[in-house]
Amino acid sequence: MFDVVVIGGGNAALCAALMARETGASVLLLEAAPRAWRGGNSQHTRNLRCMHDAPQDVLVEAYPEEEYWQDLLRVTGGLTDEALARLVIQASSHCRDWMRRHGVHFQPSLSGALHTARTNAFFMGGGKALVNAYYRSAERLGVQIRYDAAVDALELEDGRFVAVRLGEERIPARACVLAAGGFESNREWLREAWGQNDNGEWPADNFLIRGTRFNQGTLLKFMIDAGADTVGEPSQSHCVAIDARAPLYDGGICTRVDCVSLGIVLNRHAERFYDEGEDFWPKRYAIWGRLVARQPGQIGYSIIDAKAIGRFMPPVFPGVKADTLPELARRLGLDEAAFVRTVADYNAACRVGRFNHTVLDDCHTTGLTPAKTHWARPLDTPPFYGYALRPGITFTYLGLKVDAHAAVHFGGRPSPNLFVAGEMMAGNVLGQGYLAGIGMSIGTAFGRIAGTHAAQAARQGTHHEAA
């Protein structure tokens, strides 16, 4: 019998498996995906948000605990657990040596992401390189790994984990770590979570999934049905506006469209609906998914002119291009008259001062609703470009309630041998909103905690058996 069975195959699962194995426990890791798709959403990540009090290898300056905490408090609007959040923040300051020992390499911020040079340590080669390194290390240390192993259910006994069930197969173990991701790939569940809007639409039907197709939430649903305590709202997620042409799953980072703040964004009726220049794009990209989700048809159109070209990260798909505004409207399938009127109103309202995309400049609109408060320049220089946008779900926040030991709770009581990490519990720290790189910080911190405590629980279980 294995000491610890880890369900999942992404960052949190691997951290748990490695930590448990390092303490001497025998470990079985069950990854639902085939080998080629292993690693869950971690394969699409790129960095870890790290607290540090002084410059640290690839990280410049300092990012103290308090600042990190205040950033988190702000984006979550208070929907967080301070004790658990501080645990994650502190863990982020000293986990990287351990990560390096397991083969993870770090590099300074990527070009085009220099604003994160202080806060985020980038994985060389991105998340898939990290996942590969962890799998190699796990294999070397003797962790048993099975792919195509989607767990359907657990056998529980009064809050105690007994065995894992995969179809007909039953795998007993002394302790278990759940790290099988959120439910974002489960279209039916997303549909139910977002419900029907006033126009009779099911908004989630138009969502794209930025990550893995394997996060079906089977285990999360099982645990909720089994009476595990939960945290977070099913409709809350990390949700970004991405190119509408992105694939249904696994579009990852490159489907972002980064020109929103350089132009205007219209809905299906060719109307503006939000201040595109409210703040720097890195601080706003994570709200645009929900903004677009609330528009009719869950679609938006980012419109720029030639002045914006070369000022934003090149998008993966070329924009729809036209030499005149009416032509662009036609090509985007928008009402020509409404489109031209909206752009004309916007252009007339622009008060151009000294345009500077690197500061919150003084180019703004007057008498326009909604206003554009920065970087407002008329769309007057052909060619014009349009990018259709859809909400892209990165991961869902509904999860299982935990304590500082990552234990799953039933009716307020912690399980002695069942633990949870990663997206399945990220909602404890991240009730809403997003901070770049914090998903990996939570997964790494709680994956390691869960693995350590699972190994400990397995040892105690062995003592019980011996007695």
């Binding site: 085009g112 080669g125 390189a129 489907t255 070209i309 993966v316 729809v320 291009k321």
Partner: protein, 389 residues
């Protein structure tokens, strides 16, 4: 700031909606497609020079594609790390796309142009060159000796092949190889509009070539071969090969100086400089190519262009035969087999020299040029001011 605005206006002239050029080949178009995806991702920037060079561009024209293809060392790191690699529908395979274009550029820039086709028929090319080389020297041997095996002549190989004959034959073939490669790489160099090579840029490029910097993975643990694990052996075996080849070449050069300047014709003592250099080089040239062949046979099938494996292995085989026959000559120089061993060695070396401008050897020349271009380009300001999260 004014200058920046000018540059941004220039960037604005780029047409994002249509392909860069209608004259791209399928392989070039594939590099362009892949680079468009990579440029929106950029996770691999730390591995090598290709991705930082890519970020200096927002579209990829023929010359950019040729440059990036030759900058790629086929280390494989970006393939194993890629979230968009097959089975993903984007099917991004940078090393393979680059390798295919690279093979094409060797042909495209070859001089004389008609011989560019030899790159695509590498197996035949090597076979004919080897057969020709061996036949030539065996006939020369028979012309002077009338029999292949005979009495030992105390290592005096000019007794078999007059020095001036050898110098003329090899000088001509090697000179042609230098000329052909020189013309080819010059054409490549002009097409990628390199800019001005400053001292520091040349020094950095030289360093990157001699150290094979971009086979270290960016983290010092090496590149990928059979799987996602890193290995430094590809770099080491390249070093054995390259420096072994240089030592052999130096041995020949020193011997030539001995012959003409000092009036000291071969054979030389085992402890003499030419023999020491040749022996050390020969051993390096045994270990290096043998190791490279082993790695080549174990290479991940998705990494690189399978169609070029005959070219890779043909060149490796010639290098291995060069060192093996060279060491055999040294071992057997006092035996009756000396003549035939020497003929074999000279035949192999002739085949190697003759195929230098039309085989795998070209990769080192074009790679060096691309590295110099990168050393120049990285010192110029990136004219794009891109921002993101």
């Amino acid at each position: 700031m004014k200058q920046l605005d000018v540059l941004i206006r220039e960037a604005g002239r780029f047409d994002l909606a249509t392909p860069a050029s209608t004259t791209l080949t399928d392989n070039e178009a594939e590099v362009g497609r892949v680079m468009q995806i990579c440029n929106a991702c950029r996770y691999c920037e730390g591995f090598c020079a290709v991705f930082p060079a890519m970020t200096h561009r927002i579209e990829f024209e023929k010359a950019d594609i040729h440059y990036l293809a030759n900058l790629c060392h086929n280390c494989g790191a970006c393939l194993h790390a890629c979230q968009y690699a097959p089975p993903h529908e984007f099917a991004v395979n940078v090393p393979q796309a680059m390798a295919k274009v690279r093979g094409q550029t060797y042909s495209d820039y070859a001089w004389p142009p008609a011989l560019g086709a030899l790159y695509r028929r590498s197996g035949l090319t090597v076979a004919l060159a080897l057969a020709g080389g061996l036949a030539l020297f065996l006939m020369l041997l028979l012309g002077t000796r009338a029999e292949l095996l005979g009495q030992p002549l105390g290592g005096d190989f000019y007794a078999f092949f007059p020095h001036n004959t050898l110098a003329l034959l090899f000088g001509a073939v090697f000179g042609f190889a230098v000329l052909a490669l020189g013309v080819g790489v010059s054409r490549f160099w002009r097409s990628i509009t390199p800019g001005e090579a400053t001292g520091p840029a040349v020094a950095e490029a030289t360093h990157d070539v001699l150290r094979l910097k971009y086979l270290d993975g960016g983290h010092g643990e090496g590149c990928n071969n059979a799987d996602d694990a890193f290995t430094l052996w590809r770099r080491r075996f390249h070093h054995f090969t390259f420096y072994g080849f240089l030592a052999c070449f130096a041995a020949t050069a020193v011997a030539t100086l001995y012959h003409y300047l000092l009036g000291m014709p071969a054979p030389y003592a085992l402890t003499s400089l030419p023999v020491l250099l040749g022996s050390i080089g020969g051993v390096g040239l045994l270990i290096g190519p043998a190791g490279l062949l082993w790695l080549n046979l174990r290479r991940h099938p998705a990494q690189g262009d399978a169609a070029q494996k005959p070219m890779d292995r043909g060149f490796i085989a010639l290098l291995l035969l060069t060192s093996a026959t060279g060491l055999a000559v040294l071992a057997g120089r006092n035996s009756g087999a000396m003549g035939v061993l020497l003929a074999a060695h000279l035949g192999v070396v002739m085949a190697l020299f003759a195929t230098l401008p039309y085989g795998k050897f070209a990769h080192g020349i074009y790679r060096s040029a691309a590295l110099l271009k990168w050393a120049i380009e990285k010192r110029q300001p990136n004219r794009l001011s891109l921002g993101s999260d």
